[in-house]
Amino acid sequence: MILQVKNPVVEVHDLTVSYDRKPVLWGIDLTLPAGALVGVIGPNGAGKSTLIKAMMNLLPVSSGYVRIFDQPLKQVYSRISYVPQRESVDWDFPASVFDVVLMGRYGQLGLFKRPRKADKDAAMEALEKVGMQGFANRQISQLSGGQQQRVFLARALAQNADIYFMDEPFAGVDIATETAIIQLLRQMRDQGKTVIVVHHDLQSASEYFDWVVLLNMRLVASGPTEQVLNQELLEQTYGGKLTLLSKVGDLLRKQEFPAREKS
């Protein structure tokens, strides 16, 4: 069940990525629609992060190409933003929350130019959107995990891009932050932005995303959430592993009782 769309924002063609001559992604052909909240889902080691990194040209690819907004990546850098995994940076770095959020403006500024007032205003506005305006001068090592994630999100928002790649933004954050983040992502989608999220929690996936990409080294499925999240495709993605099957069971039960309340 791989649905290709017309006029895609992201087009991945025959993408293969290898680490150390061992392929981690095989022949991915994928198109994503504009203005969607997309979840990239699969087991550990399925190549979820690798896929979005390859889409942004952060990794060398063995074959294939990626086009964004029907253009090569180099021409659309300013329209792309990225929220890396929280653990990918050193949070003891001597920088304030505001310093980090302002980095979102660096791409547009160009070489040798210093951030101006408009850039600082945009950074402050982004901090307000994630509810962190009171933390602007806080040193980043003093933040909790959820606050770190909000700061990363604010940095991406400050960039005012059209397409956002997010690597596990819900990993290790409390439920309040998770709810705040998903609300923000929905607002962004409603403004016509495309948000692509690497996600590992099957429970919340059906609720969060409009479009789901199921991945396990190969592309298993890509399509609207309700068509993709079914037992057959999930089993194909996760294999027959027992613990995972029980999760699939949970998910099916949830489909039977869609009114289940979420805290």
């Binding site: 150390d20 952060l58 990225y82 890396p84 001597p94 500024l109």
Partner: protein
Amino acid sequence: MNAFWIILTGSLVATCCSLLGCFLILRRMAMVGDAISHAVLPGIVIAFMFTGSRDTIPMLIGAGLLGVLTTFLIEFFHRFARVQADAAIGVTFTWLFAIGIILISVFAGQVDLDQDCVLYGEIAYVPLDLIITEGGLSMGPRTVWMLAVVTLLIGLFIVLGYKELFLTTFDPAFAAAIGISTTLWYYLLMGAVSLTTVASFESVGAILVVAFLVAPPATAYLLTDDFKTMLGTSVLLGIIASFAGYYLAVWLDGSIAGAIATVTGLEFLLAFLFSPSHGKLRRQKRVQTVGH
């Protein structure tokens, strides 16, 4: 006057090294500075063999090229041979330094260089090598002029490239995603480290260069939580060490470079114990007050 020139030389080297060192330690690459400062030796000897003189410019070029080659080799072994980064550093620079030693010992008769000079420097001799105009007017030591130019270049590099250097140091993946080349800024930074090392080694020696690259930035890191303040503080600490080290050496009648490096170490120890934010003693005291 000699004291003035020696302290000025030390301060200029301290300024370049501390500024660049701040980026190096935050990239967890402090030892790359160590590697470059040793690995430039064959470049210097080869430049000498080609030109037959100890002119500054060919030496800077020869050593600069070797410096960049060193960083390239380290990256290459780390990425493609999949050796750990520190192992790649260790293999590369000891090997290049050893080649330099062989070149010096084989051509010992012709080369006016020796290992001691490379490692420990001759900062006390800085005031002897003066630029004298045709009118007989002394313009000050040659080394000071060269270091002043290098310091200016490094300062300019950091001011102009500040936001790219800051971003590629903190979060290279994000930098690459928004179109800032991490490779370009990595090699620019390494080029700057090579230039500084080469310009400084003759006067202060490799050991003091390494001390200045690591100790003042590490001390400043303990003293502040703001990156710009860290840059300023490390420069200040480096200059203080140059002053204090010189007078310590005079008092002890010992090696000036050694005394300066010792002071940088003492500064670190003091910051480690008494830093307002990270200090060990401070923290214990605070815990005790809470306990009462």
